[in-house]
Symmetry: D2
Subunit: 167 residues, 4 copies
């Protein structure tokens, strides 16, 4: 064992996990566009796609995606060892909070604007985040970690875009 993938292979793996869970890079770029719309009215989703890809090219983001999807899947399948934890994750308990902790691990890499963006989109539940959140309430589907991770990637991509635009 102990043979690790290359960083680009982890990126491919993480993107495949997102797609398997129903989230495309375009979905995330559209959330990032929404976050920037106040500042750039005419921005198109495609213009944010590159920032989304750059965010996902970071190792810590790839590992956060993998960990988040694993926890959602284990809760969904009912295969967690700790049934109290499974109950919390499966029902997206409002004070659980560990899902947001993982998300902040992504936002922090893109500075304070990314954190502010995340707080906003997490409350507004725009686009794919809203869809994930609603689907996750159905029996046998759990997106407790994923909706926060997607929000964090969008928040980070929007922050990255804002910083580059200023230059």
């Amino acid at each position: 064992m102990e043979e690790f993938l290359q960083s680009e292979e982890y990126a491919t793996h993480a993107i495949a996990l997102l797609e398997d869970r129903g989230v495309s890079l375009e979905d995330i770029a559209e959330c990032a566009r929404y976050l920037q719309a106040d500042y750039h009215v005419d921005l198109r989703t495609e213009e944010l796609l590159d920032s989304v890809k750059k965010v996902i090219s970071k190792r810590e983001v790839q590992f956060a995606i993998m960990t988040a999807v694993e926890l959602d899947r284990q809760a969904e399948k009912g295969t967690m060892v700790d049934k109290e934890l499974e109950n919390l994750v499966e029902s997206d308990a409002p004070l659980y909070g560990t899902d947001e902790v993982l998300a902040y691990g992504i936002c922090n890499l893109y500075g304070s604007i990314a954190l502010t963006n995340f707080g906003f989109i997490d409350k507004k539940k725009y686009g794919v985040i809203d869809r994930l959140n609603r689907e996750g309430k159905k029996k046998g589907i759990c997106h407790t970690f994923l909706d926060d991770i997607v929000g964090a990637i969008a928040a980070a991509a929007a922050s990255r875009f804002a910083h580059r635009w200023e230059r």
Copy 2:
């Protein structure tokens, strides 16, 4: 020198600074109420006041308030040594970001819900935060740090309230 105040004396000092800059504890409690309104429709501002006071009873919060007000005042009076910094703070440059870093130092003490609350109210600019933000655009007035600190205290107080309510 090197004689420090007691923690309660710093609390009194920090509250006096806030009032001197035009912010009452009730103003902050009203922002905290707004953040909780989705979950508790009938909540009254007074019910959040105790949480606001508890947040300000923490030393790190007191020191963040003192540091924030100092930087605003120095920018306002034009007495900073570094005129590039003075320009950034005085004009509330959107990508400055250090004001939010100080604010996160407060939110972090109250967990991930406080961080999410902060991101939301920072974008919505509710109540006193909106007033500070508008006043700060006038010549000779600077609230670049203060509006974020006030948002952070409100976000922390709302998170504290939510955690206690659940018990």
Copy 3:
């Protein structure tokens, strides 16, 4: 479902998980004492025990413990869905980093001194943290998340003690 435990029940549950994984509250208190030893030479482990219990009485700490132990156990048993993630966690890959992200979720609640304490003890690997780290290298045993969580609780308890002592 959706019947959650009371906060004290989660505390009992989290402490039982720690003990099941070979970590006593005294082990953690001894790490906290080590962190404070420069400032209080005569401090005894028992004096830190109350701080350790107070840290674990916080809901977000309980949930972090539960999540960390779950991920370690799944890696240990080889029951993760994502085998790339399992490989990373099982071998404690140095750049994985999500274990530290969870740990910082605990430290942040106790301010900047807790974060500094954590960085120090994480590198020094004192006491039970060293033991967990060495045991975790054996085949079939995984403490990738647990050693960081234990370090974070010790760091938080030491910070809490330092703040109270000053008063």
Copy 4:
């Protein structure tokens, strides 16, 4: 007013501030080397210099340096409006903590390894950090913020180096 510098101009400005306060980029690179020495015994200071420069090329790092130096200088000159704050900063009060909050704003941009590195070097006080710390105890000299900012840049540069090395 409201004419901001370009990002490269802020970098030049921030580096000049560091040098004016007695810190060279080589001093910081040497701290970063120390942090990586366990993993790469033969590493030379020059090899870390590029990472230090890259860290300082980030806007949020430049602004943190500027804010930190301003607060140290105001405390040094005795020109703060708030004399309680001046006393805390001038005497580097151990529980002040806002200096570390600013430093974490830098570390967070480079992930969890940077945070761990910072905690370690902040306690060990290696190289220029030790010198700043000792000098800052003299009457009329204040490095309360600067030593943490320097530690954070070194911690971030070491983390950046570690991540690139693995690729």
